[in-house]
Symmetry: none
Subunit: 217 residues, 4 copies
């Protein structure tokens, strides 16, 4: 790897500041986390988007959440075909090895991946249809959600927002196709949660299986 | 989705605290991020491990880092085969759509995924060799790193630690197999960085291509 | 301009060092800032004093803060009389063109401008009262602050320190006389912040509108 | 001031990091700066632009540079009319009270203020011509530079870049209209320097009075 470069100086400076304060104040806990291993209460699956900070929203500290982040917080269906499935590996590790008690899927407003899916499925983004588009192929996972949304005759803005919430629901549905997830859910060792956050307004909604709607927490 | 459950109350409480404080103090910025879109300076690829908090270490706030997290911070090689590649999709989006200037791969000590890889490749974890093991198949990505480490005749503890750093290097190598990454690196629009953090001691090392070693930042 | 001289050698040397290190590590980001334009999150108004380094205190890098520095971090009241108002121009540009989310006024200890104001208003610096004194006329902006402080019967040392904080408050008050500032504040697109730093002790206080006092951050 | 808000938490965190590292390492020097007063070697006049960091470029620490920053690094001509002249006050303080040895005017590429001046003087920005435009009235200072540039028959891009350098020269010329500046220059107690930096490329040029051109330092 001749291409790696030193870390930009402003990050080095900030790191040293963290070391001298946050680390110093918590070193006993960090050492214990290192020696005894992690024991997170929840797994969170959220988007890579730089505007989504699940640790900030929930005041979480090191050791609390096992976090997988991918484009549009999607979980593929169970497919044990021997190929590489990074998201499925993360879910498997969290549920079978770490035995987390909660699995939270967190969607968000203004999601670029969901917008790309909407455009692709509406025929407005042919480049995303190409075999070589990693984003396009990844967003194929959300096609079932698009189909459900497109039946509702919404405006483009409302449809995109609805599709962001479908990304949460599709992931929750796909999670239940994993035998180890279903088993943990049915034995009440694991509970699933669907959330959606509004970045600009700082809002947080959860999926209520009773009403089958998202509503404020 | 009849299986979704309301959010645990302690998280609801913390969220409302965040809304009344951190959100309130930053609402103008969050609204602007929502209306104008994100413009992160860097993409970070780190592990899902609950003990790794890149935003904390670097004093980063919402909008600064586009973050992908998977088991053992691995990037697969470029493989545009039409299948779902969540990590490749995240890299593609960051480099081609967001045009981030830095791509940081952050490994860490006590990595469970790396330990699993070590055990699997040493013949001590046959379950991980099974086709149906998502973690095993994902950790196959690190086999080239295991081969390099095993030539060095290290103790198990030293070998596992070396393998954590190999996870960073393998990812950096694989990143360069993506045409759009290579092009951005060669035109100096993107720089790659390899880091490894010691959870218990709060240490941070970077890969220096001159010495071909990791050393303190 | 026959009077311009080449840059002193020690600065040329340091510049070349910066170019080979900091610039080289961040060139991708600097190029992006150049091609896409700045998008700072905050405007900071601080003193010209060589001992005040807002970027250092806040670990800020290029692109984060739009910074105006003048004597005693003062903002004049809104006065659209067609004359040159450099501070008002900077505020106008930051709020209406760049749409910054935060506007921070940072005062500091041992402020020479504030001390001059105190002496002038106490009758001890007649030279500053002269029409031709640019510093004196500039410090006239702080006379309302002096009046408030002088009612409190403080020692000279305490009064000077109080006047440094009044410089922050007078500026915040005057900022609200600008229609575009008031509008942005009232629509919650902009928030104002008053700070004061102690140079020798490295302290940082903020104005709390609840208690109407400055207290440690 | 009921409108002031607490400082955003990420800045508070970074400040505490600075306090525990940079401040702690330099506290003896900062305390001496506080007790003995500043004694800067140079005054720098640069733009408010968030991409211009003179302390970074020159590796300057607290106490080295007395820095005034305004839109487009402009100095108005000497005008002792009893009105408020923030830039003139800063120059007066630096030269007569602090007796700095160098006065550096630093222009830069992609300057929004200079671009506004170019558009205004070309008849393309009528809003900037209005009496109530603080930016427009401030940029009036650069009209003599526009006149000189417009005689050269350059493309818009080349003309804007040339105007950025004129902003430096106009400021240097105006500085010499201040009696205390002229006197200090003529007695060789003060030297003036004109610089221009290219943000994207990290370049630095100085005005050479011999060739009457800007060239690399």
């Amino acid at each position: 790897m001749n291409h790696a470069r030193p870390l930009p100086g402003y990050l080095v400076t900030r790191y040293h500041g963290w070391k001298a304060t946050t680390y110093a104040e918590n070193s006993a806990w960090y050492r214990r986390l290192a020696s005894e291993g992690q024991r997170p209460r929840a797994m969170v699956i959220s988007c890579c988007d730089s505007r989504v900070h699940v640790t900030s929203i929930f005041g979480a500290d090191q050791g609390e959440f096992f976090i997988h982040r991918n484009i549009a917080n999607l979980v593929p269906p169970y497919e044990p075909d021997g190929n590489q499935h990074g998201t499925s590996a993360a879910v498997e590790y969290a549920v079978t090895a770490l035995k987390v008690s909660h699995l939270i899927v967190l969607g968000h407003s203004s999601c670029g991946g969901v917008k790309g899916c909407y455009d692709m499925c509406s025929g407005k983004a042919p480049a995303l249809e190409e075999k070589s588009s990693f984003v396009g192929r990844w967003m194929d996972l959300l096609r079932p959600g698009f189909d459900r949304v497109s039946e509702r005759g919404l405006s483009e803005e409302a449809a995109t927002s609805a599709l962001e919430k479908e990304a949460v629901l599709v992931s929750l549905e796909n999670l239940m196709t994993f035998p180890f997830v279903r088993e943990a859910v049915e034995s009440e060792e694991l509970s699933l949660h669907g959330l959606w956050t509004d970045i600009g307004e700082g809002g947080l909604q959860y999926f209520d299986p009773g009403t089958r709607e998202f509503g404020p927490v």
